[in-house]
Symmetry: C2
Subunit: 135 residues, 2 copies
């Protein structure tokens, strides 16, 4: 069981991203774009900093992805009171299409963990959350 944990996490991460991208293809979206839309759906408008902090990625990654989402009409940026920051909002188009996308993704997720009982699924999430908490 030596050194297998990282390998396994990495493998399943790639697998789930593949499945996610495959599902999103019909909506002309990519997995990272989806993660930001999902974020905004959950919490409402956010600054870019709030987004990258929640998603645990770096600021430039979010800049890039939001620029693409803005170009394709899923979100728009609004100047905030603090002129350095920008508030990101879902577009009307996004609000209208997100529920359908969410439904499809939940189906894929269900398939992926079909071999795990509900208890195992909860246990897995709990264990994953405990990783790297000392950092």
């Amino acid at each position: 069981m030596k050194n297998l944990l990282f390998h396994e996490i990495h493998q399943k991460s790639r697998l789930s991203i593949k499945e996610l991208n495959n599902t999103l293809k019909g909506f002309e979206l990519y997995s990272s774009q989806w993660s930001i839309l999902f974020c905004l759906k959950q919490f409402g408008s956010m600054t870019q900093k709030e987004i990258w902090q929640y998603l645990n990625v770096e600021a430039p990654t979010v800049t890039r992805t939001i620029t693409r989402l803005e170009d394709s009409g899923w979100v728009f940026r609004e100047e905030s009171h603090d002129k350095r920051a920008k508030n990101v909002h879902l577009s009307l188009f996004a609000e209208q299409h997100l529920p359908e996308i969410e439904k499809r993704i939940q189906l894929v997720e269900k398939e992926m963990v079909a071999n795990l009982s509900n208890e195992e699924q909860d246990q897995l999430i709990l264990l994953l959350k405990k990783i790297g908490q000392s950092f």
Copy 2:
């Protein structure tokens, strides 16, 4: 707990890659390069196909990474009997340095799962392995 599994896997994958890259910096290696060296250390010489099948990535990804590993002297390619395929070998330099790298990485992995008991670590790997088996 809706839709949290993929998110959590993705998060921890990014976190462990960051830690891995940080550790490998001293050896002028990146995480994906390491995964191939680890592979060759475990199984001996392999064709590129054997490598990407084991690592569950696509062929072009492995081509690129091996080219870099070859340029920096960690591996070399040898023509196989089937002239389409190429056998990849660890260099002497790699053989000499891998044990030290392995030791360092194991320390980082240990830190990352310090909050989990040994049983939890085993359980986590088992659950991860069950994901996506229907595909």
